[in-house]
């Protein structure tokens, strides 16, 4: 369990994280979503005790990071895959990490094997592709078999096979009862790998909830096609719903459930040919939620969106 409590982090005049509070529960994969520059990495660095909060605090299983006796056995983190001395081999990198936290050195071979980089373990890390570096970073996070795991943008640089592997892997960690916290700026990725999502923009919490809750929250619109759109439309509008008619002969109805529309059509004697409740994609929800909070907007986007 990770608890972020009224966290604020300032770098000079820049407010990177602004009064941010949320909880990451064990047993599920929690996605940490936000546009670039929204404060995800800063929050993760504060959780890991690397940066000191300007105010507020963060606890991991009720302890501050600095109080952890053997941190690698309690929290595993992949913050920056390329943050390894390029002249050192993967095995020696992991060996030093293991030794510092009194983790049995036999774990080094286990995690090398598990992440699929055992065959290149004695090569210098400088020659690794980003994907291999990500796997080494994950190996380092798993070294102490910790109950809490943090991954900052873990799918960057992975090939499709690697991405699928990592999704299944996150799920299995969560099933084992661990706390799994994964950041990404890719909502489509989160939709597939996370159960719960924390969305931030410009350092502030925008929303937190399950993927289902988030995608359902903008639902309530229903796609309707009928034998007599005009008649049905006037009935629905009379009942206080908004109706948009598209050129392809479909109507989007907001304010009524599919069931209520079906009943209304029956009462009006109009035959329905299609009745589909709409679900917003997580991507749409995300774009809506963060539209005002994107730090860097290209001029093209700015003109398009006014």
């Amino acid at each position: 369990m990770i608890i972020v409590d009224h966290l604020t982090k300032r770098y000079g005049d820049t407010l990177a994280v602004n009064d941010l509070s949320f909880e990451v529960r064990p047993g599920v994969v929690t996605g940490f979503l936000g546009p670039n520059g929204s404060g995800k990495s800063t929050t993760m660095r504060v959780i890991m005790g690397l940066d000191a909060p300007s105010s507020g605090h963060v606890t991991i299983n009720a302890q501050r990071y600095q109080e952890l006796k053997a941190p690698l056995r309690e929290v595993g983190a992949l913050l920056d895959a390329k943050a390894v001395h390029p002249g050192r081999t993967a095995r020696n990198h992991l060996l030093a990490l293991a030794v510092s936290n009194r983790i049995p050195t036999s774990r080094v071979d286990e995690v090398l094997e598990f992440t699929g980089i055992a065959s290149v373990a004695d090569k210098k890390v400088g020659g690794y592709s980003l994907g291999m570096s990500q796997r080494l970073g994950i190996a380092g996070a798993l070294l102490g078999d910790p109950p809490v795991l943090l991954f900052d943008e873990p799918v960057n640089g992975l090939d499709p096979e690697g991405i699928r592997w990592i999704r299944t892997f996150f799920r299995s960690l969560a099933v084992e009862g661990r706390t799994v916290f994964v950041s990404s700026h890719l909502m489509s990725e989160m939709a597939q790998s996370a159960d719960e999502i924390v969305v931030i923009g410009r350092g502030r919490l925008i929303t937190q909830g399950t993927v289902d809750e988030l995608t359902a929250s903008d639902a309530g619109s229903v796609l309707v096609r009928s034998a007599d759109n005009a008649a049905l439309r006037s009935v629905l509008e009379a009942a206080g719903n908004t109706v948009d008619t598209a050129n392809d002969g479909t109507m989007t109805v907001r304010g009524a459930s599919a069931e209520a529309i079906g009943q209304a059509a029956l009462a009006a004697g109009v035959a329905l040919t299609e009745l589909t409740p709409q679900r917003a994609s997580l991507e749409e929800v995300f774009m809506d939620l963060t539209a005002d909070d994107v730090e860097y907007v290209s001029s093209l986007d700015a003109t398009n969106h006014g």
Partner: protein, 260 residues
């Protein structure tokens, strides 16, 4: 549960220290410079001994001249110390290190234990070798010194201590500045540029300031009878050590206070 201790972190830092090429290259350069330039300097003196001025013969020191290579090797050990910490900043692995060891003072202590013990062993071995080699070259032509003399033994031992202190100074500067190029610039300036600046000062100041320069302190440490305007060997050691302690303490405080 076993917790992170200075001992476990020292073990980890020892693995990190010996598994990068820069460390090995740094020590090889240290050995080559100390012995190679020592051989060059002592051979040159032997060759010119007959024609040397009587006054220079009178103040001739067979110990410090045989250790002359250390004046070049000091840059190699300094860079070893600098790279030991700045490579963590340039690669970003300092975050991994500090996440694994949240009590940051432990990281500094562990790195110092590794750096000081390895450098001390290498430096002492190489200065004794350079001394013995120099006396061998001088033999028969130039007056030689013997380790049986306490002052000679002290000078040779302090030659190794000098190199060890400079490696530690480099480490402290690297930790403070977090950047290899900046740390090397400052380190080199302290040894080479400061004496030039002092040279421009009024004569009366020069004599009182010069003795505080790291290179003058080193010379005093390695001289059997340091000249009168220099510190004595042990005082020089203490002055240099206090510089090093100041830089290391200051850099450790910044490490603990600053964001990683």
């Amino acid at each position: 549960m076993d917790s992170v201790t200075v001992a476990s972190v020292t073990h980890a830092e020892w693995i990190k220290f010996r598994t990068v090429r820069s460390t090995i290259v740094g020590y090889v350069v240290t050995v080559v410079l100390t012995l190679g330039l020592g051989a060059l300097i002592t051979s040159a003196i032997r060759g010119h001994w007959q024609t040397m001025e009587p006054l220079r013969k009178l103040t001739f020191d067979p110990v410090s001249t045989s250790l002359g290579g250390t004046l070049f090797a000091q840059f190699a050990v300094g860079v070893i110390g600098i790279m030991f910490i700045t490579s963590e900043y340039s690669s970003g692995s300092i975050r991994t290190t500090l996440a694994a060891t949240p009590r940051r003072v432990q990281v500094v202590v562990a790195k110092l234990i590794v750096l000081v013990s390895v450098t001390a062993v290498v430096a002492e071995v190489v200065v004794f070798a350079a001394f013995l080699m120099g006396q061998r070259i001088y033999e028969g032509v130039v007056p030689t010194a013997s380790l049986a003399s306490g002052a000679v033994l002290r000078s040779v031992i302090l030659g190794g201590v000098y190199l060890t202190l400079l490696a530690t100074l480099g480490f402290g500067l690297g930790l403070l500045l977090r950047q290899q190029s900046a740390a090397i610039s400052v380190f080199t300036s302290l040894l080479l540029i400061v004496p030039i600046i002092v040279f421009v000062l009024p004569q009366s100041w020069q004599t009182s300031v010069t003795r505080y320069e790291p290179s003058s302190l080193g010379h005093a440490m390695m001289s059997v009878t340091p000249s009168l305007d220099m510190f004595g060997a042990w005082t020089a050691t203490l002055v240099l050590a206090s510089y090093v302690v100041c830089v290391v303490v200051l850099s450790t405080v910044t490490l603990v206070r600053r964001d990683a």
